[in-house]
């Protein structure tokens, strides 16, 4: 495996490893990061769509989780936005959703908007019920991987001098290389399968699959940041090591990590649902998108395609939200496309200086 960053010309390196974005040059505080992100969102309609989708899904799953216990406590009756019991069986078996058949009926019958399955369970309730589980796992695993992998990457990148530092750094990178040699899905599947074929095993498996990517990303970024002039300058000025890491290193890591984490939440959800699809992540009574697709396509009802499409659409929309958001963020935060982007949109808010160090760096 090739270390993506310093040894090669800047065009080789994966998207993240260009010079740090111009944000750093302005030297503002953390609040400026927020401002910049909001400006980013407004600049591309698709990114905004992704952002709104993500916010909407998070709000819906928060309501799903919080509303029943809260109303139970306050009103002595648990209200929920799920229209039916996701495991409740009714006599209305294999009811097609109203939008399924042509011509559409008006006003549409909203009783089962995604139809029901062969046991009369409401598909919409099942799909909705699975949202907090999938979303939560996506976010939890990604954050945990960022923390573990990012921490190790920081250690391997920033403190790699001296015999001890070099030794530790080498060990971390060799172990990372070994983990990266596994194709991600194979590692996740195999770990989930041997660690017990349940939710906890799947969580461990997913985290074990994702952390090495962050070691790579963070170490690469840190190696670039470390050799920028302002780090030695800060050292000479007597700034403490902790402050350098916090103010200069972590601050510059925030952007690439945000982009990768946003994209990864989607990938983690896809991988999690794939493990569930295989049938080793969740028990059958817990609705989960992947296991629903596996179960319903196994029934072989060729005309009842909504059974597969509804959970498929749910996972598609969720992952698309994170992908749109992450992809848009990356486009604007990546200094290489950023220049082209700034020229296109003729953003009046932040005109690029003609002789930015970025231009110099990428033309070397």
């Amino acid at each position: 495996m090739v270390d993506p960053v310093p040894e090669r010309p800047s065009t080789v390196a994966p998207i993240s490893s260009g010079p740090p974005a111009p944000l750093a040059r302005r030297g503002g505080g953390w609040s400026e990061v927020l401002q910049e992100s909001l400006r980013t969102l407004a600049s591309n309609p698709l990114t905004l769509v992704g952002f709104l989708l993500v916010v909407f899904l998070i709000i819906v799953s928060a309501v799903l989780l919080v509303l029943p216990p809260l109303t139970e406590l306050l009103l002595r009756h648990a209200y929920t936005i799920v229209p039916y019991d996701p495991n409740g069986i009714s006599t209305a078996t294999l009811v097609a959703p109203t939008w399924w058949t042509w011509p559409l009926r008006f006003p549409p019958d909203m009783s089962h908007i995604f139809g029901t399955d062969e046991l009369g369970r409401d598909i919409f309730a099942r799909v909705l019920f699975a949202l907090p589980l999938d979303l939560g796992i996506g976010m939890f695993v990604t954050l945990l991987s960022v923390a573990i992998g990012g921490g190790l990457g920081l250690v391997a990148g920033f403190w790699d001098e001296g015999p001890v530092g070099r030794g530790v750094s080498t060990v971390i990178m060799r172990v990372t290389d070994i983990f990266l040699a596994f194709p991600s899905l194979v590692l996740a599947l195999a770990l989930a399968a041997i660690l017990g074929r349940n939710l906890n095993a799947t969580l461990i498996a997913l985290t074990a699959t994702w952390w090495p990517y962050y070691v790579r990303i963070v170490r690469g970024e840190v190696l670039v940041i470390k050799h920028q002039g302002y780090i030695p300058a800060a050292r000479i000025a007597g700034v403490s090591e902790a402050r350098i890491v916090w103010r200069h290193v972590l601050r510059n890591l925030l952007e690439p990590l945000t982009v990768y984490a946003t994209l990864d939440i989607g990938s983690v959800i896809v991988t999690f649902s794939t493990i569930a699809f295989v049938g080793i992540a969740v028990p059958p009574n817990i609705p989960e998108w992947g296991s629903m697709i596996a179960y319903y396509q196994g029934l072989f009802y060729p005309s009842a395609l909504w059974l597969v499409l509804a959970p498929g659409l749910a996972i598609f929309v969720t992952v698309l939200g994170f992908s749109l958001l992450g992809d848009g963020l990356r486009d604007v935060l990546d200094p290489r496309t950023r220049r082209a982007f700034a020229r296109e949109t003729r953003s009046s808010t932040s005109p690029e200086p003609a002789s930015s160090p970025l231009a110099a760096a990428s033309e070397e």
């Binding site: 060799r174 040699a181 596994f182 599947l189 195999a190 660690l195 697709i293 597969v308 082209a340 296109e344």
Partner: protein
């Protein structure tokens, strides 16, 4: 360090040497994971067997022995070319070796689809960047990214296949009357000089290859678009326009050619994702490659099979990256081998 052939040989040799510790690590990790987490898979292999049968199974496979003894036995066997046996007692290596060309055929077909469509879409997106074709293409490739492998594959298998009359399982419709020396369905049929089976094999390849390509198309499209956008504002592009070259010539001969350098490198990165996807795609389309084999091995606690498949996958990923790096160096004269 320079660009001579000797430098290249040295570069490749060093990369292959670096592969050895990684592979050793992969084998050790997989062995430990599997054997510590499931010290005794016999009850899972024979769920309804009586205790004496389980005990016999345990003795036969040596699961009662201490871990280091089992590991020593396995690693000595591996070095001698014996990759172990699966739960039915069959040698693992011939099964894996037969699956490799099948998967290679599938992956090459989907790579071809990816390159043709991905680069075309990337060029269009860059040409119209910020306008609606760009947004449309972005939604298209991100939907490939967002759709889980199994969903796209299942929809292709249960909707597209029956509707358009494509076969959705296996490599041939009926067992072929000819031997299959290469284990690549199209090549075997062509070697046997059998046009009916050749067409049949191509028809069987289309849907799984499309499923694989659709999911990974986005990376190519994205990289082509990004690197074209990066090159478009450069001075030499302005220069060639000022010289009076036609816009299409500037775009295809100068900009695209330079941006393909980056796209090539990224192809190497997609190898890992492509191989991961084969696990699910091959299982759904019953394609007899190593993806399907690894799926079965993982689900059935076939440890020797799992380790063997992981070794093959790890080698494949390293080789794909190596080939991408070599191509990159060939395309970009500034790169030095080191």
């Amino acid at each position: 360090m320079g660009r001579s052939l000797g430098d290249l040989v040295f570069f490749v040799g060093r990369r292959l040497l670096e592969l050895i510790p990684v592979l050793l690590g992969v084998v050790v990790l997989t062995f430990l994971f599997t054997h510590i987490a499931v010290p005794d898979p016999c009850p899972a292999w024979y769920p309804h067997a009586k205790p004496p049968v389980i005990a016999a199974c345990r003795t036969f496979f040596g699961f009662g022995q201490p871990l280091y003894v089992q590991f020593e036995k396995y690693i000595v066997g591996l070095l001698q070319g014996n990759w172990g046996i699966d739960q039915s007692g069959a040698q693992v290596f011939p099964l894996i070796a037969a699956g490799i060309p099948e998967t290679l055929e599938l992956v090459l077909a989907s790579l071809a689809i990816m390159i043709v469509f991905g680069i075309a879409l990337g060029v269009i997106a860059a040409q119209y960047s910020g306008r609606w074709p760009d947004h449309l293409i972005r939604v298209f490739y991100l939907s490939g990214w967002a759709a889980p492998t199994y969903l796209a594959a299942i929809l292709l298998a249960i909707v597209v296949g029956p509707t358009f009359g494509f076969p959705t399982g296996g490599v041939y419709s009926v067992n072929p009357p000819f031997p299959q020396p290469t284990h690549m369905s199209i090549l075997d049929a062509m070697l046997a000089g059998n046009p009916t089976f050749t067409v049949d094999a191509i028809a069987h390849l289309i849907l799984p290859a499309t499923a694989l390509a659709f999911l990974n198309l986005g990376i190519i499209t994205r990289m082509t678009r990004t690197s074209m956008l990066e090159i478009l504002p450069m001075d030499f592009v302005k220069g060639s326009r000022m010289k009076g070259l036609s816009e299409s010539r500037v775009l295809y001969r100068h900009v695209l050619r330079n941006s393909l350098i980056t796209t090539t490198t990224v192809l190497g990165f997609t190898a890992s994702g492509l191989l991961s996807s084969t696990v699910v795609v091959e299982e759904i389309f019953r394609w007899p490659g190593i993806g399907k084999y690894s799926f079965d091995a993982i689900v059935n606690y076939n440890f020797s099979g799992t380790i063997g498949v992981v070794i093959v996958f790890a080698i494949a990923v390293v080789f794909a990256n190596l080939i991408a790096d070599i191509l990159y160096g060939v395309l970009d004269p500034r790169v030095e081998w080191r």
